[in-house]
């Protein structure tokens, strides 16, 4: 129903986007190059309010660049990004901060602030971004830590004292602390054992559902992809080559998607590997 024709490199303008009103995030013709290397090449993508969209693609395919362009951390060379119908490309300063307050993000390695205890990491957006009193922010931070399965005692630890799974959970608590409308997850299960990966995925689904947030995730981990997303878009050579419902990804009929989700070496995606 939503799939593009197999193996076509056409933009992934999705039919689902067109059937409802203003998308939460609408991306049109987004391009970004670093010197001669074109990373994003005219991307079109709509993410509806309340849905969980996942972008898959090989390493270096531009998934992280896409997230950073939406957040205003990178400036695209061309194209438009609208959040709730408001153009964010070209915004800066207070205007950009206002839009960023709609977002929460779980970074790949959690990106916790080394110099602050865990509770202050979680409360950071409340204290600095929303100017909340430290006492009240601490209460909320401890509550959010509880929501991701961490006790109050963890709040006093420093990030260096945490395991990989705990860091991810603290990162998730920080991402949801301000109760954002949109949450980004950058490789949420990378570096975790499969069981902890499942725990994090379930927490992500729970938190997103409770907040009623819109989610955009990027990952290589197909098990995680199936657990956390409603829809999937595949990025290849700077373009969205397929979008569709996660439940139907096995029947995409797209050889690029098939090769990627089954992790096969043979197929249309050729990896540049030098012979030994």
């Amino acid at each position: 129903m939503n799939e593009r024709p197999a193996a076509t490199l056409s933009p992934g303008q999705d039919a689902a986007a067109a059937r409802s009103g203003t998308p939460k995030i609408a991306i049109r013709g987004l391009s970004k190059a670093f010197g001669p290397k074109v990373v994003l090449d005219g991307i079109d993508l709509d993410i509806q309010a309340g849905e969980s969209m996942l972008v898959i693609g090989g390493s270096g395919s531009g998934k992280s660049v896409l997230l950073k362009c939406i957040l205003g951390l990178l400036h695209p060379d061309a194209g438009s990004i609208k959040v709730d119908g408001e153009e964010v490309v070209g915004l800066y300063g207070a205007e950009l901060d206002r839009v960023r307050r709609k977002f929460g993000m779980l970074f790949q390695n959690a990106a916790l602030f080394d110099s602050l205890p865990v509770w202050e990491n979680v409360a950071f957006g409340l204290i600095q971004g929303q100017r909340m009193a430290r006492g009240a922010a601490r209460e909320i931070a401890l509550q959010k830590l509880g929501a991701v399965g961490l006790g109050e005692d963890v709040g006093e630890l420093m990030p260096a004292e945490l395991s990989g799974g705990m860091r991810k959970r603290v990162g998730l608590a920080r991402a949801i602390a301000t109760e954002p409308e949109i949450i980004f997850f950058d490789e949420p299960t990378t570096g975790l054992d499969p069981i902890m990966g499942d725990v994090i995925d379930r927490l992500i689904v729970k938190c997103v559902k409770e907040l009623g947030a819109t989610a955009l995730s990027i990952t290589h981990d197909m098990a995680s992809a199936r657990r956390i997303s409603d829809r999937v878009a595949m990025l290849y050579k700077g373009k969205i080559i397929w979008t569709g419902r996660t439940a139907e990804i096995d029947r995409s009929g797209n050889p690029y998607v098939d090769q990627f989700i089954h992790g096969r070496e043979e197929g249309p995606i050729q990896m540049q590997v030098r012979d030994l």
Binding site: D97, R100, M105, F107, Q108, A111, L112, F113, G125, Q128
Partner: protein, 257 residues
Amino acid sequence: MPILQPIGRTFLVFLEATGRLTLFTALSLSHCLRPPFYPRLVFRQMVEIGYYSLPVVGLTAIFTGMVLALQSYTGFARFSAESAIPNVVVVSITRELGPVLAGLMVAGRVGASMAAEIGTMRVTEQVDALDTLATNPFKYLIAPRLIAGLTMLPILVLIADIIGVFGGYIVSTQKLGFNPVTYLKNTWDFIEPQDVVSGLVKAAVFGFLVTLMGCYHGYNSRGGAQGVGTATTNAVVSASILILSFNYFITELFFAR
């Protein structure tokens, strides 16, 4: 011609780096003056730069004052001009050695640590995390450090001046046979307010340069541990060179007739 290409390329790279640094400096200064301010962070940086640099700056100052007295004596004794030692010590320390040596020591201690800390934050996406939490890294990371550097270096140098003169006093009175009262009187009579003020102005400029270089190289570091290492080295080297060159220009500004 092939020989002109590398020259042109180097020149363009230099212009690009200069432009980037100028923009970074202007942006940093503008964020120092515009709210929101972070007094808690400014205070923390003041303690880091001022209080924790005191031992190393104090030791540098006292030994410099002692060596200065000793070397001046060996030179001046040939012309029976030993009585000029208090004057030489106090002028050298307040005008030049106090601010320059304190600046260089702080560049090594604080500039390097700032570049390493901010550089690590950059490569581990902590700077991006600040942005996504609607907190401007220039306001949160850089402005407090610049304000602390600008204000704490003059205080450090004032203390270094006193300790340096005391070092010269110790050697002169304990080893070279000077009368303590006469030594202090000569020191006090010879020193001019301009000597101390010029040193403190230099210190403020050096404090700004050291923190600016630490923040600039850390903020722009790329590529993991190696990138952070390079940023740290560049921060110390560029701050040291800038201290020595700005020292000349400020000296000319104050004392050229």
